[in-house]
Each structure stands twice: as structure tokens, then as C-alpha cells.
């Protein structure tokens, strides 16, 4: 174990097929627009389902981007060295935040006009005492201001890290790293606040009567785990095609360990929240779970316990599965898939109250956003180097021993 090749012995990287990928990106984005257009047509017949599936897809891609930003911030806050060679891909994913902001617009429209998602936005409830008690927070202007602030912050922060790191490739200035590190501490604090309240606004707010103090942390941990899984998949894909030969088994092992840790951490947060509410059994909060442990939704709940925790946990428990690209890819892909399942379980009971259902709307919206994001990601990939060429910690990262 632990045989690292010196930097000089690493095989030369295969350059990215730029022309091919540009065409692919255009194709993907065109397809994405088609999908979304088709789904908007579906909104005429099933507006409630449409907006719920839109929120589901939006939150899925939002969690990937925000999770990527979390990893970039964490890299600087912890003064880490190991991840330099893989960090650029997290920066790339985080820098797609403007797209996520774009996807938020229909949700904002619904808050003002449609009222299909957030019950509290409906004028019918304007004089409801339960809502009035919290209307200082739950009101449309404040809701919009918060959303604008979150997105402004995330777009700015992601752009700042992506750009500084990219500029360092050409000017080789180590002070950029110092500066990013200095800024990251404060940004992480703001990031935490934004994530917490975004989770409260967009997911917990689906039911304004219900609340849980752990909610922000729970959503953040799930997002970070899912985004890590995507990050691993991107790295494995680039490595498989020999574009990124600097990444060796040690990096895979480290990322596998992190995925393992975040699988356990998700289970811990999810269990803490579930067990305390189940145990106290207070009607005003326990109905959240009763609703989701009802009929066929209950099978999904049990499936989540097994699939979001036990499967990746057992899969990543031995050492070799974290070092083997195939098993690691399997685990990462599975976690990503489970993030979608979990969000489905959280959001869709709002429209499919009796039993699970998956309509073509859900698939079309998800595929549309996915294609748009994938195309945007490919363009990002081509617009900069695959890893920070002149990061002062690059050598430490390439020679890291797990």
C-alpha cells in the first residue's frame, strides 16, 4: 500500500476532446430545453404535480452545487492539502450556481401567483392564526429578499473561488491561496446560515405548521454527501479517460473515506431527527413522519434506511472497495441516486398523498435540468485546466498517502 509515484513518473495526460465535447454540450443543452418545454406544457394539466416535481429537481441540482461549494470552502477552512488535485472539479460544479438560480424562478412565480407549492403563500390563509404567528418571517417580500440574498452570496462565493483558482494557473501567485483561505472562514459562516434558512424556506416551508431545529443540518449533510458522490464520479470519469492521471488510488481512498463518513453522518442526522420525533410522539410534529410512513410511502422510507445508509455503508466498509474505481463508482452513483429518492420522499407526498407515483412530468423536468446542467458543466470543464496547476499545495496533494 501507499506506493505513490513521484510527480515526474505520472503518465502524460490525454488532452480533452474539446470540439467533440462542445458539440455534445450544445446537444445536451438543446435536449434539456426541449424536455423542459415539454414539461411546461404538462403544467397546464397538472400544475400541482408540475411545481412539486420542479421543486424536486431544482433541489436535487441545488444540493449538488451547494454541496460542491461546501467542499471547496471546507478545503480552505481546514487548510487541507490532499484535495488540491481534485478540487477544480468541485469548483466547476459550484460555479454552475447561476443555472440553479435560473431554475428557482418558476418557484418564485408560484409563490406569488400559483400557490401550488407553499400553502402559506395562498391568500386563503391570510387570516389563519397559525400563520399570523409567524408571518414576520413567512411573508412574500421577505421570502424573495432572502432567496435573492442566498443566490447572490452563493454565486459570488462560488465564482470567487473558481476564478481565483483559475487565475492562479497563469500567474502562479501563492498569495491567492492565502487570500482564499483568509476569506473562507467568514464565508463558511454565511454559507451555513444561508443553507439553514434555504432549507427552512424551500423544504420545511412546504408545510408551514411543522418545524424541526435539526432541519438545516440534515439538509446540509445530505447535500454535501450527494455532491461528494458526484465529485467522485466526475473524478473517476476523467481518470478513466486518462485526462487526470495525477489522481491515484490514494485520492480515491481518501474520497471514499469521506463518502463513508458522510453516509454515516447522514444516518446520524436522519436518525436523530426521526427518533426524537417518533419517541416524543407529539401530534403537532409527528404527523410529518406519519404522512411519509403511510401506505407505499412507508416502503420508500424503509428503502431509504437501507439504501441511503446500509448499502453504501457496507459497500465502503472494506479498504479495497474505496481504492477500486469500480466499486467506488458504484457506491458514489448509488448515493447520488439515493439523494434523489430522499428528496422525492420529502417533497412528493405533497401531491401524491395516497401512494407513490412517478409520472412522466417528474422524469421530464429532472432530465431537462440534468441535461442543461451537464452541458454547462462540460463547457466549464473546457474553459479551464483540469486541476490547479500552480497551487502551492499541489505537490503535497499529488504525493499524499492515505
Amino acid at each position: 500500500m501507499g506506493h505513490t509515484e513521484p510527480a515526474s513518473e505520472v503518465r502524460a495526460a490525454v488532452p480533452l476532446p474539446a470540439g467533440k465535447w462542445k458539440r455534445l454540450a450544445a446537444l445536451l443543452q438543446g435536449g434539456g430545453i426541449l424536455f423542459l418545454a415539454a414539461s411546461v406544457a404538462g403544467a397546464w394539466w397538472h400544475p400541482k404535480e408540475f411545481f412539486h416535481s420542479w421543486l424536486f429537481s431544482f433541489f436535487f441540482f441545488f444540493s449538488l452545487c451547494s454541496g460542491a461549494l461546501f467542499w471547496v470552502l471546507l478545503h480552505y477552512v481546514t487548510n487541507a492539502g490532499w484535495g488540491v488535485v481534485v478540487r477544480r472539479q468541485a469548483e466547476n460544479v459550484a460555479s454552475l450556481f447561476p443555472w440553479v438560480a435560473l431554475f428557482f424562478l418558476p418557484i418564485l412565480w408560484d409563490a406569488y401567483r400559483g400557490h401550488y407549492l407553499y400553502e402559506w403563500t395562498s391568500p386563503v390563509l391570510a387570516h389563519n392564526p397559525a400563520l399570523l404567528a409567524k408571518s414576520a418571517y413567512l411573508n412574500l417580500p421577505f421570502f424573495s429578499i432572502r432567496a435573492i440574498f442566498y443566490f447572490a452570496f452563493w454565486i459570488f462565493a462560488a465564482r470567487f473561488f473558481w476564478n481565483s483558482s483559475r487565475l492562479q494557473d497563469s500567474d502562479r501567485d501563492p498569495w491567492r491561496t492565502v487570500r482564499m483561505q483568509k476569506v473562507s472562514y467568514g464565508l463558511l459562516v454565511v454559507y451555513g446560515a444561508c443553507m439553514t434558512f434555504a432549507a427552512i424556506d424551500w423544504l420545511m416551508g412546504l408545510d408551514f405548521r411543522w418545524s424541526s431545529t435539526l432541519w438545516g443540518g440534515f439538509v446540509l449533510v445530505a447535500a454535501a454527501g450527494a455532491s461528494l458522490a458526484l465529485w467522485i464520479l466526475i473524478i473517476l470519469w476523467l481518470r478513466e479517460r486518462h485526462h487526470l492521471p495525477q489522481v491515484n488510488e490514494e485520492h480515491l481512498h481518501l474520497m471514499g473515506k469521506l463518502l463513508f463518513a458522510f453516509t454515516a453522518l447522514w444516518a446520524y442526522f436522519a436518525f436523530s431527527q426521526y427518533m426524537l420525533i417518533w419517541y416524543a410522539n407529539i401530534p403537532e410534529e409527528t404527523y410529518f413522519f406519519i404522512r411519509r410512513n403511510f401506505g407505499s410511502w412507508n416502503w420508500l422510507a424503509i428503502g431509504l434506511v437501507l439504501g441511503r445508509f446500509f448499502v453504501p455503508f457496507l459497500l465502503l466498509l472494506p479498504q479495497w472497495t474505496k481504492r477500486n474505481p469500480r466499486t467506488l463508482a458504484l457506491a458514489a452513483g448509488w448515493v447520488l441516486w439515493m439523494q434523489a429518492v430522499e428528496l422525492y420522499w420529502l417533497i412528493l407526498p405533497g401531491v401524491f398523498e395516497k401512494a407513490i407515483a412517478i409520472g412522466w412530468l417528474e422524469i421530464a423536468v429532472w432530465a431537462g435540468m440534468g441535461c442543461l446542467m451537464a452541458g454547462a458543466f462540460l463547457r466549464r470543464l473546457l474553459s479551464c485546466e483540469l486541476y490547479p496547476l500552480h497551487d502551492p499545495r499541489l505537490r503535497e496533494s499529488v504525493e499524499v498517502i492515505s
Binding site: T78, D173, G217, S272, I277, A280
Partner: protein
């Protein structure tokens, strides 16, 4: 070209800022580490030690005195009255148990996150953990009122045929704290093995040598043993890090599973963990800053960088604790439950509001000074803050426990709670006990992990120069020899020599070093240690036992046992409905199952290491070589080829080892 020069200079200064600092200062050598750390134990105790130990010992004496008083009088002498039935005693339990978390956390979680600076603080922190848990255990033990019936909480078959309610958070507590104490002791002791061997090899008195020899199970420093040791240490650290998280969470469920406003909140488990890390780190700083001042030579190992890192951890965890306070406030308002809202309003404006402000000020606002490097690098600012932080954490528990209970749902029963002198006596007694035990520990065992520090030393190292070569001992004609030993002067040489020895076809040989050397398993071509398999098996066994236990004590009697009487079944399968929960309440059983899994996994890991490393070893022939027996746990790197090896021949093997750069070649008598 002044501009170019300036850029180069700027780049250099940036690089210098980002350089990794040395974790052991002044280019210290391995033998210096041994001398310095062991000197604390071996040299006669300084005057301050006697004074401090005497003072804290006197304070600790309050514990037995107060205990005898209130057991003989009755618990009425405590300040407990309706509605505050959980007062300062439970508060102190939470206070101490949370302090006890940082030790294991530093050892285990910082090990996984590759924070190598932990190596110089983990030992003291682990010791602190054990003493803090001991102090914590005092309170529930006496709070139960009928202390002589303590064993009712232990699941043993007994004549009353009454079994425990495994759905109850207080029982989870017992399992969690019990497991935590046992496994922390095990982990601490496991980490101590090589260091006790160091003490043994330095001891001058025969009885001490023998005592240490027994305590370290006859540790040789063989690299074949080191491999299993490292694997075992990692595995136990793994289960311990789950344990540390589960214990703080279980303690939080004592409150969070209730339906009381201010107690029932889902963020409590992670909040208690961050609180535990926070208060534990504060306590480590409280202990280490004076320790550094008392033994200035330790400053090369517990450097300014260490204090800086710990201050950063305090800042991070303090801010996270602040996050919990604020989100609790927000959700209390957002939840719009009038009782919940009132509880928090009462904390802030009620008669005990100063506890809330002390909590917020000391735990959230005070650590914000650590944004500034000058505050982080000044030991006494750091020390003062760390003491105040623990005061703040004490008030946090006061605010949660007492202030929530003082004003319950029924205003007619509201009453102000005041702890009596008995409460205070027990608390200050426990403070005395804690510091008293820590001071004793300083004089008995190495307060810094010697073997782990050595892995941090600057390399290349230890070119011993100007030293007379010891006379070489030829094979004695009349004596049977065990093997041929050689010393090597650097890790690299030893690694290369091992590789050559293996390639030459030797089978019966071993290398000895005072610390695990990276890459040796490849040089010696050792297979992967199988310790982890036994850890997994042990864990599964614990889980299985746990499932059997909670099932048999909770579900109704199955059909095939219908013919037996309750007495014959020892009261098993005698189902009772608790809180309307199902007989088999899986979510409520998880804490107990988890603790048992961890308990068994940790102990089987320890036993597997003992087995694979061929411990205990009363005697080993290599110790007949004086040089090795003195320095294999100090700074010597040795390679020994045994005479029973088929390829062994005194002349050729000797030439072979000489050609590899071995020195002090010696034939070791059997």
C-alpha cells in the same frame, strides 16, 4: 530587475505562509523525546506538584464526606423540590461527561482526519476523559436514591425476575456511559503499551522493571507486532469515534425525548456533541497550558501551533454551539407553540436570566476573540478563556435543565430552585477529584505519547556521530546462539536492509523499532493484518447479543415457550407496554444495540492484536542483547536474523548484514 525580484519575494513569502509548521521544534531526536517525557515521571516531584496535589486532594475529600452525609440523612438535603427534580446533580453529570468527550475525540477523530498535531496532546486528553467520566459517574450513581440497588440497572437474571426497560433514555445512558468508560480505558491503555515498554527499558529498579513489563505485556518493538498494533489502533479508533458521537447523543436524549418545552428539540444530539468537543477542548487547554509552563521542555512538543489549533477548534465549536442557541430560539418562535415560546422568553428575561447571558457570553461571544492571531498565540489569554468557557458550559446546562423545569406547564407549581451546600460540596469535590487524579497521572505514566511523537520527528535523523563503537561479541564457543543482530542508523537503511534480507531468502528474522515505520510492511512483504476482520466479527457478536437481549426482555412469550413458567424463564418474554410504544421498538433499541456492538468490537480488536502480535511475552531472547533491550524502545533500529533460519551461517550472515550498513553486529546468546 527590481519588479521581478519583488514578485519572487512576494511568492516566497506566500509560500512561507502556507508551509506546514514543524510539529516538534528544534530538530529533536528520538532519545530526547524519551528523556524529556519520562523525566516528568522519573524525576522527584517538584514542590508545586505536592502543593497542588495536596490542595486538590483535600477538595476531593469533600466527595466521600458529603456522600456519607446525604446517604445517612436522605436525599432531602439536596436542593431538589417540585417541580425541579433534576437539579445540579444531573447538570454536573452532563457537564463532566461532555468534558470527557474531547479526549477520545482528539485521539480517534483527529486521527482519521489526519491532524498529526494530535500526537502530542492525545495522551493527556485521553487520561482527562477517563477522569472526567469517573467524576460524571458519581452523580447518577447517588442520584438514584437507593444506591444499594444500583445493580438493578444491570441486565442480570435475578430472583425478582424484573428486567430493564430498554426503551428508556436513562438506561441507554447507563449502556452508553458504561461502554464509553470501558472502551476509553481500553483505548488509552492500548496506546500506552509501547510507552510503558519505554519506561520499562529505562527503569533502574528491578520491581519497577517487572511491573512495567507485566503492564506492557512484554512489548518488544518488533515490526511484525507493530503492524498488527497499528491496524488494531485504527480499528479501535474507528469504533471509538462512533462511540464518542453516540454517547453525547444519548445523553442529549435524556432531555430531547421528553415532551418538555426547551428540552424536546431535534438539534440536541449534534448540539451536545459540539458542546462536548467545545468544553472538552477548553478543559484540555486548561490542563496543558499550566503543564507547559511547569515543564518548559515540553514546549518543543506542545508548541504554539498546538495552542493555535486548539483555539481554532474552540472558535469553530463555540460558533456551532452559538448556531444551536440561535436556531433553537428561532424555531421556538417559528414553531409558535406558546409553551415553547415562553420557555425561551423565561430563559432570557426570567429570574435566572444571568445564566442565559453567562452561557451566551462565555460560549459564543468570548471565543470570537480567537479570530485574532494574537489571542490564539497568547497562552494565558487562551487559558483564561478556556476556564471561562467551561463556566459558560456549566451555565448552559443550568439554563437547559433547571430554568426549564422551574416554570413548568402549571404556574401554581412554579418554584425557584436553589442548590444547597451539599450540592455545591459534591460539585466542588468532583472538581478536586478531577485535578487530583490528573496530577497523579502525570507522575505515573507518560503524559505525552512517546512512540507517536517520534513519528513526527524531522527526517533524516539520528546520524549518531562521535560515538565509540561497542566491542563486537563473537559467538561464544560454549553457548548456543539465538541469532545475529545489527543496528541501522536510519529508517531508510533499515527499510532497505529488510528488503535485502527478505530477498536473500531469510525467513526467520525480524526488525525492531521504537515506532511504526511507514513502508516496512512492503519491505518485509507482510500480508495485511487481519485484526479488522476480528473487529467486525466482535461487533457482529455484540449486535447479536444485543438483539437477543432486547427482544427477549421486551416481546410477549412466543408459542414454543408457552409451557414454561415465568419463573423458569427468569422473567424473560414478560412483555409490558411502555408509553404506548410497540413491544419491539427498533428506534428505541438502536442506542443499546450500538453500544453493545462497539463494546464487543473494541475488545475483540484488542484481543486480536494481543493474539497476532504474540503477546504477552514474558521473555524474548533478543533482550539478551543489552543494546537492543535498552534502546529498541528509545532510538535504536535493529534487525535480527535467527540462527534457526536455514540460510543462516554465522560468517556469511554477518558479512551480509555488514554489507547492508549494519553496525554493532552481535551474536545474541539464547
Amino acid at each position: 530587475m527590481p519588479i521581478a525580484e519583488e514578485t519572487v519575494e512576494k511568492a516566497e513569502s506566500g509560500r512561507a505562509l502556507l508551509a506546514r509548521p514543524e510539529l516538534v521544534l528544534n530538530q529533536r531526536e528520538a532519545s530526547w523525546v524519551n528523556d524529556t517525557v519520562c523525566a516528568v515521571v522519573e524525576k522527584p516531584a517538584p514542590l508545586w506538584w505536592w502543593v497542588a496535589t495536596g490542595a486538590f486532594g483535600l477538595l476531593a475529600a469533600a466527595v466521600p464526606l458529603v456522600v456519607v452525609y446525604f446517604i445517612s440523612t436522605g436525599l432531602g438535603v439536596w436542593g431538589l423540590q417540585s417541580p425541579v427534580f433534576w437539579g445540579v446533580a444531573i447538570l454536573n453529570f452532563v457537564f463532566w461527561i461532555e468534558i470527557g468527550h474531547a479526549g477520545t475525540l482528539i485521539s480517534a477523530i483527529l486521527l482519521f482526519t489526519r491532524q498529526r498535531w494530535r500526537n502530542s496532546v492525545n495522551r493527556a486528553a485521553e487520561a482527562m476523559t477517563i477522569f472526567a467520566v469517573l467524576c460524571a459517574a458519581v452523580f447518577p450513581l447517588f442520584h438514584i436514591g437507593r444506591q444499594w440497588m444500583f445493580w438493578y440497572m444491570v441486565p442480570v437474571p435475578e430472583s425478582y425476575a424484573v428486567w430493564q426497560n430498554f426503551r428508556a433514555p436513562l438506561l441507554w445512558d447507563e449502556f452508553a456511559v458504561g461502554t464509553y468508560f470501558t472502551v476509553s480505558c481500553l483505548f488509552w491503555y492500548f496506546g500506552l503499551l509501547p510507552d510503558i515498554a519505554s519506561l520499562r527499558d529505562r527503569a533502574t529498579k528491578l520491581w519497577k522493571k517487572r511491573l512495567y513489563h507485566v503492564l506492557c505485556w512484554g512489548w518488544t518493538g518488533s515490526l511484525r507486532a507493530w503492524r498488527h498494533y497499528e491496524a488494531g489502533y485504527l480499528c479501535i479508533a474507528g469504533v471509538v469515534s462512533v462511540l464518542v458521537i453516540s454517547v453525547a447523543s444519548v445523553v442529549s436524549t435524556d432531555f430531547a425525548t421528553t415532551v418538555l418545552p426547551g428540552w424536546h428539540t431535534t438539534i440536541f444530539p449534534p448540539d451536545f456533541i459540539t458542546g462536548a468537543i467545545f468544553s472538552g477542548f477548553a478543559m484540555i487547554v486548561t490542563l496543558l497550558v499550566p503543564l507547559r509552563a511547569a515543564y518548559p521542555s515540553l514546549k518543543d512538543m506542545i508548541t504554539g501551533k498546538h495552542l493555535d489549533n486548539m483555539a481554532k477548534v474552540l472558535l469553530a465549536t463555540g460558533s456551532l454551539v452559538g448556531y444551536s442557541y440561535l436556531i433553537e430560539l428561532f424555531m421556538a418562535w417559528y414553531g409558535a407553540n406558546p409553551y415553547e415560546r415562553y420557555t425561551f422568553w423565561n430563559r432570557i428575561t426570567g429570574p435566572d436570566r444571568f445564566t442565559y447571558f453567562a452561557m451566551f457570553g462565555f460560549n459564543v461571544i468570548l471565543p470570537q476573540i480567537f479570530w485574532f492571531r494574537s489571542c490564539r498565540s497568547h497562552p494565558w489569554i487562551l487559558w483564561t478563556s478556556s476556564v471561562l468557557i467551561n463556566v459558560g458550559m456549566w451555565f448552559e446546562r443550568y439554563s437547559i435543565i433547571v430554568v426549564s423545569l422551574e416554570r413548568d406547564f402549571l404556574p401554581a407549581s412554579w418554584r425557584h430552585y436553589l442548590p444547597t451546600w451539599v450540592d455545591w460540596g459534591l460539585f466542588f469535590g468532583s472538581v478536586g477529584l478531577f485535578f487530583f487524579l490528573f496530577l497523579l497521572f502525570l507522575r505515573v505514566l507518560p503524559a505525552i505519547s512517546i512512540a507517536e511523537i517520534k513519528t513526527l520527528l524531522a527526517k533524516p535523523k539520528r546520524q549518531r556521530t562521535g560515538e565509540a563503537e561497542a566491542e563486537e561479541c563473537g559467538p561464544w564457543p560454549g553457548k548456543e546462539i539465538y541469532g545475529l543482530g545489527a543496528e541501522f542508523s536510519s529508517e531508510e537503511e533499515l527499510r532497505r536492509a529488510s528488503e535485502e534480507t527478505r530477498k536473500k531468502g531469510y525467513v526467520w528474522w525480524d526488525a525492531y523499532a521504537p515506532y511504526p515505520i511507514h513502508g516496512m510492511e512492503r519491505a518485509m512483504r507482510l500480508p495485511k493484518s487481519r485484526v479488522s476482520f476480528f473487529v467486525l466479527m466482535g461487533g457482529l457478536l455484540g449486535l447479536f447479543i444485543g438483539v437477543a437481549m432486547v427482544t427477549a426482555t421486551s416481546i410477549p412469550r412466543p408459542q414454543l415457550l408457552q409451557s414454561l413458567t415465568t419463573g423458569q424463564l427468569q422473567g424473560l418474554f414478560y412483555a409490558t407496554v411502555v408509553q404506548g410504544k410497540p413491544y419491539f421498538s427498533l428506534p428505541a433499541f438502536v442506542p443499546v444495540l450500538l453500544e453493545l456492538t462497539i463494546l464487543f468490537a473494541a475488545f475483540s480488536g484488542f484481543l486480536a492484536v494481543v493474539f497476532f502480535a504474540r503477546l504477552p511475552r514474558p521473555h524474548h531472547p533478543v533482550w539478551n542483547w543489552g543494546e537492543l533491550s535498552r534502546r529498541a524502545t528509545d532510538d535504536g533500529l535493529f534487525l535480527v536474523i535467527e540462527a534457526r533460519d536455514p540460510a543462516f551461517s554465522p560468517a556469511e550472515s554477518r558479512k551480509f548484514l555488514e554489507s547492508l550498513g549494519g553496525r554493532r553486529l552481535t551474536f545474541i546468546p539464547r
